[in-house]
């Protein structure tokens, strides 16, 4: 049963999304439904994590699309492989050569080696930023963790504006911060202190998840934010994040549903996080009608009504967002009142 707290809705209405790719060798990868479904599932979970972080921080964290290719591109960030192919070494040398010769500007690339019983990080023998060896239990975790840090990085204006060279050094700084502050880590560090990559998400999982027989992705959101805050204070103490103007933010809302001058309504709002909400459907479940009408100041439900709510009221109205029809053998249930939310940060 889909419950409101498990739904990705903020991502649905924004074009503020980035795409990154996973490299899978030809021998394993032929487009098939199983891999496609799995990647979609992981992307949904990643975006759910990003949504929850978006509900906590006063910046816009972009959402994510994950693709799989058997070629290296500028957007490749994970090389995904396992021991099935004994020719892995040859493939990796070819990948390494491509990276050095044609993709020298990639900020970082992680060699993710899936192997039973492993959970460690070490220097990559193929000149990638790091080699993470992990058991199949943690496939989801490793992909989400690597990409989550990329999304969070892209929420800071001054980090996005770093030069290519500085972006390459950036991950070394994260590893340095991890070491200097003796952060927890799910991985055993076998790099002898010489790693060029770290994801702060690695430090935010608990032992219950790691030791479970069927690990479900869990992350300590507050710890994750705190680590990033500490890191930024240490290495970028004088940099200030500048959010896009409200007008520019609203331009990222999908479907052109918002009038061009609507950003004016935020002019007198105090700095903080708001949600621009819209009625997307006229015929909603009767149990929500009174509340929706009251929230939007209307007598009858109609499409296209807009309202601004504060961040602290988000959870109060969460049950109205989106609309899912769930049918079970016993009864049919409606969730949500087809209200679409869109985050706006006023600075």
């Amino acid at each position: 049963m889909i419950r409101p707290n498990n739904v990705n809705y903020l991502k649905e209405y924004t074009t503020d999304q980035i795409i990154r790719l996973i490299y899978l060798d030809d021998k394993f990868f032929s487009p098939n439904k199983e891999i496609s479904d799995k990647i979609t599932d992981i992307a949904n979970k990643l975006n759910f994590v990003i949504q929850n972080l978006n509900l906590k921080v006063a910046r816009n964290i972009p959402y994510f699309s994950i693709g799989i290719l058997s070629n290296i591109t500028d957007l490749t960030r994970i090389i995904f492989r396992n021991i099935s192919n004994i020719q892995t070494g040859i493939v990796m040398l070819q990948v390494s050569e491509q990276l050095n010769n044609y993709f020298a500007n990639i900020s970082h690339i992680v060699d993710c080696f899936r192997v039973s019983g492993a959970l460690k990080m070490e220097k990559s023998e193929y000149n990638m930023n790091a080699k993470i060896s992990f058991d199949s239990f943690f496939t989801e975790m490793i992909i989400i963790d690597v990409f989550l840090d990329i999304a969070f990085f892209n929420s800071y204006s001054f980090l996005k504006e770093l030069s290519s060279e500085k972006k390459k050094d950036f991950n070394k700084l994260k590893y340095e911060y991890f070491k200097n502050n003796k952060l927890d880590c799910v991985f055993v560090d076998e790099s002898n202190g010489e790693l060029d990559y770290y994801s702060f998400a690695f430090s935010c999982h608990n032992s219950m998840m790691i030791n479970s027989n069927t690990p479900q992705y869990m992350i300590d959101y507050d710890k994750y934010i705190k680590i990033w805050d500490g890191f930024i204070r240490t290495y970028f103490p004088n940099d200030v994040h500048v959010e896009k103007s409200v007008e520019k933010q609203i331009e990222l809302r999908k479907n052109d549903h918002i009038p061009n001058d609507y950003h004016e309504r935020f002019k007198d709002k105090k700095p903080g996080v708001y949600f621009l909400i819209r009625t997307d459907k006229k015929n909603i479940a009767s149990k929500y009608k009174k509340e929706v009408c009251s929230l939007f100041g209307i007598d009858e439900c109609e499409v296209g009504k807009l309202q601004i709510i504060k961040q602290e009221d988000f959870n109060k109205y969460r049950h109205l967002f989106k609309g899912e029809y769930v049918s079970s053998k016993r009864n049919s249930l409606y969730y949500g009142a087809h209200i679409s939310p869109f985050k706006v940060v006023v600075q």
């Binding site: 021991i83 004994i86 070494g89 496939t139 479970s212 069927t214």
Partner: protein, 294 residues
């Protein structure tokens, strides 16, 4: 629990796991019935196990009729009750007998590439080639990985008379020589307890019983065997270790098992991790069953 059960030899604690190799058919039965079945020593593939391995020392034969009578009584008794003994065999992770052995293992491991070193599970109790060949239907069967502490708890809860210990391997076969005093003690025990004497011999871990049932020739050493021994009532065929599911931490499917059986087994083991053993060139690996992202 979890992923640690699949770690390479040098990363796991010794004596943490037991391994039980079996055919696919018996594996289904074990999972369905949630029990492990014992077998009789007479049905093992070691010919020496089928016979009582004791002998009698030179005694004071001034009263030799009495001594001979006792020897005969004891031998007849032990031969007769042997049919009531049941054994359940497990393998264990490889133990290094000497520092030199350990050094060789580490040198071998370090000579491998980083990938191979991480993936190589040689020496783990589920990666014993001889066991796969002889007891798991030539790699078409299964190896269960059991948590030893949990097995011991189940044994303590379910069995009254038992003996649980590692097999000792010896290069030469010699029978256990029963000394005079021991001879008298055993005879009195049999006199007093009659058919139940064997129960006491097992549960009290009589030295000669230990030798008889837990010593094997070095020829079998690569089995790294650990045994659970118990006694059944006369006329009873079966002995089993029930509710063994709690102790199973993983299932390894043989390298020659086809996709149908691997899928069936995986579906049957809802909460237990099922993986397949594989041999890549010079290393032994464990692979997940299913797609590369599953």
């Amino acid at each position: 629990m979890g992923f640690e059960v699949w770690k390479p030899l040098d990363e796991i604690g010794t004596d943490k796991y037991l391994y039980h190799y079996t055919s696919m058919e018996k594996a289904y039965s074990i999972l369905y019935n949630n029990e492990l079945l014992f077998s009789a020593p007479s049905k093992t593939n070691d010919i020496f196990e089928q016979k009582v391995k004791i002998a009698f020392k030179d005694y004071d034969y001034s009263n030799f009729c009495d001594v001979l009578n006792k020897e005969e009584r004891i031998r007849n008794y032990l031969n007769r009750v042997r049919e009531r003994i049941r054994i359940l065999c497990f393998s264990m992770d490889t133990k290094f007998k000497t520092e030199e052995d350990k050094k060789q293992y580490i040198e071998m491991r370090d000579s491998l590439s980083s990938d191979m070193k991480t993936a190589n599970v040689i020496g783990r109790g589920f990666a014993l080639p001889r066991m796969w060949t002889q007891y798991a239907d030539n790699s078409k069967g299964v190896c269960f990985i059991l948590n030893k502490s949990e097995v011991i708890k189940i044994v303590q809860k379910n069995l009254i008379n038992y003996y649980f210990d590692n097999v000792t391997y010896s290069p030469l076969y010699t029978p256990y020589l029963i000394a005079q005093k021991e001879l008298d003690d055993i005879d009195k025990l049999i006199e007093k307890y009659k058919e139940s004497a064997i129960n006491k011999m097992i549960s009290d871990q009589y030295q000669f019983m230990k030798y008889d049932l837990l010593y094997k020739l070095s020829d079998w050493e690569n089995e790294y065997e650990c045994r659970l021994i118990t006694v059944v009532d006369e006329g009873s065929e079966m002995a089993s270790l029930k509710k063994v599911g709690k102790a199973i931490e993983g299932v390894v499917v043989g390298a020659n098992v086809d996709k149908l059986h691997t899928t069936l087994l995986k579906n049957l083991c809802e909460k237990i991790d099922v993986r397949q053993i594989n041999y890549n060139d010079i290393i032994t690996t464990i692979q997940t069953i299913g797609g590369i992202l599953s």
